[in-house]
Symmetry: C2
């Protein structure tokens, strides 16, 4: 099969369509490269714009993973996840990972290792999610924000990996974090 070289479009004329506390929705004009034979030509594209995100596989000295359970309004269900959240203005991803780990679980970590970054959805979402492994944990009290209600579960690493494989873990970005972890042999 002949393989054509894919060409770069460009997006223009950002218009803010909706602001929320967690993401904005922007509308762009997407413009095909000159000479493109694409039908439809310029098309509006809506993009979910959010700060980058982080998530953290935090391991205790006896190789248990600090898992969290919380209500998630997107799927209207309780989920089993790892800690994570948004990178705040002025933070780098590692700082955000340390802060989110502390706020959501009370743990502080001696080491934070960046194991990979992913685009949650390049089609409609602008940001990236950065995954970390935290070790050398010290337990403390949670520092939850407004409306946060999070329970902790310390789960042996093998059980956590099994929860990812079995589908007990339903969050794509948690699956990706464990993929990065396995790929590094970390």
């Amino acid at each position: 099969m002949a393989e054509k070289k894919q060409q770069m479009w460009r997006r223009h004329d950002r218009v803010l369509a909706l602001h929320t506390p967690v993401f904005d929705i922007a509308r762009y004009r997407a413009v095909p490269p000159e000479g493109s034979a694409v039908t439809g030509g310029e098309v509006p594209r809506y993009v979910i714009e959010a700060p980058d995100w982080v998530n953290i596989i935090a391991l205790t000295a006896d190789e248990r993973v600090v898992m969290i359970e919380q209500y998630r309004a997107g799927t209207d269900d309780l989920t089993l996840e790892i800690p994570g959240g948004m990178v705040d203005p002025g933070e780098d991803p590692a700082q955000a990972a340390a802060r989110e780990l502390y706020e959501e679980t009370g743990y502080t970590a001696e080491s934070l290792l960046h194991i990979g970054s992913i685009a949650p959805n390049p089609a409609i979402q602008s940001n990236h999610c950065h995954s970390f492994v935290a070790r050398g944990l010290s337990a403390g009290a949670q520092a939850l924000g407004e409306g946060e209600d999070i329970s902790l579960r310390l789960m042996p690493l093998d059980e956590a990996r099994q929860a990812v494989v079995s589908g007990r873990v339903t969050h794509a970005l948690v699956v990706v974090a464990f993929h990065f972890f396995a790929a590094r042999g970390a």
Copy 2:
């Protein structure tokens, strides 16, 4: 550490905040369970509501994967992905997978195997993505929709897997599809 049982919140009073061709944004009131000590109490939650999605690892007789390259407005970049798209009204996910595979690549498949489903983001997104493996392929012409501009690359399976591990594949839901594929030994 004492582990409390996580309790179920509920969401109420859906208000449509924005409609787009690919997703809607809805606002809900999220209500903690009775007796909850959560600070902040009821909070508004914005949810990205979309039809379920599908994606497909399509394998030729000589074990090459039908990869696609396209411009993605979310990250404003060209991406290396597998075929996929939205489940249309009245379709089941397998029908959507067969249709999207055909439209985006021209291939029809003798067999489509469901290998797993995931929530792209339970925190802020309502839908699920269903992954399939397609075999017994017959090549044909693409049937692209308005504004679609997609190039094909037939990539040996080992090279595709390496592209996932190396970070050449940047789309979380494509990584998850290959995770399902590996977990099944499919």
